[in-house]
Symmetry: C2
Subunit: 200 residues, 2 copies
Amino acid sequence: MLTVHGMKASGNCYKVQLALEQLGTPYRWVEVDSAAGGTRTPAFLAMNPNGKVPLLEVEPGRYLPESNAILCFLADGTRLWPADRWSRAQALQWMFFEQYSHEPCVAVARFIARWLPADHPRRAELPRLIERGHQALAVMERHLAAQPFMAGGDHSIADIALFAYTHCAADGGIALDGYPSIRAWLDRVRAQPGFVPMQA
Amino acid sequence: MLTVHGMKASGNCYKVQLALEQLGTPYRWVEVDSAAGGTRTPAFLAMNPNGKVPLLEVEPGRYLPESNAILCFLADGTRLWPADRWSRAQALQWMFFEQYSHEPCVAVARFIARWLPADHPRRAELPRLIERGHQALAVMERHLAAQPFMAGGDHSIADIALFAYTHCAADGGIALDGYPSIRAWLDRVRAQPGFVPMQA
């Protein structure tokens, strides 16, 4: 059985949970408290030298890190991975967009606003993160005004990847009021069979 | 014919050039000077609302952004894309690692050190970027000590993705002296048929 080493309140880990639930794939979940150093222990670093969750244990001793690579692995050959080359390219485009242009501002703003003390020096980063978060959301809004899902007509892992931190962007001070197409898309993702909300 | 909108001195754009040359795929190159605002014009934003190069024009009016998604699209069905599911997952793992844990420090350090004036305030970011760049290289070094290429036994687009900024890490003050396995791997990538150096 697959084992996920993850932290339930992390959007990157929630992606993996959501894909497994939507696919109906059995799995075991090992909660790792990265805030308390759980990803920096010698035992964890032996599994993932990059020291991050989520980490998928495919079989004993065989590990796959990187949330979006895990999504691709789980979706391979399923309805969540587009069958044609162009749609696959679009799905990957939005998953790389998520990790480069979206997560580093939307997720980091949420982390700082929600978990760091009110007087923490990293709060000075928030205005710039919120500005860049809105830039990423504007790109998504424009895209979703023209089509129902990120990679075209069908729900895919690109939607799961971007749902994870977009749906809770307001936690980091990035309100979704100005993005009607994104809000309609969030509801379409929530309506998918097997959907589970993030436990955060 | 495929058209690449890119900037030759950018490692993200070089990835696309290197894959096309290794595959022997004909293409047209349109040089875009992003430093002079070439990715922020209305005409460019109409092609890529995220305002970044490289951008692959697959046919007139059909555009694919995100360097690593372009690599996946170009490599689909070729020797540069692993045939088995686990190796594909590993290739994607390292490509997401590249965009999240490697490029934002190794490439950004190079950009600041090489193109910004000596008195530019962003130079204050360099020590932290160099520290994080070494952390990313240490993860690669450990991996490459045990296998010849990033996704296992064969050269793939994961190697192209990580070669782009690793081979010129010293431009940003991140010396490769302490990474013998990385240096041997760089030479293995340079020895691939169709290899071309970066014009930078």
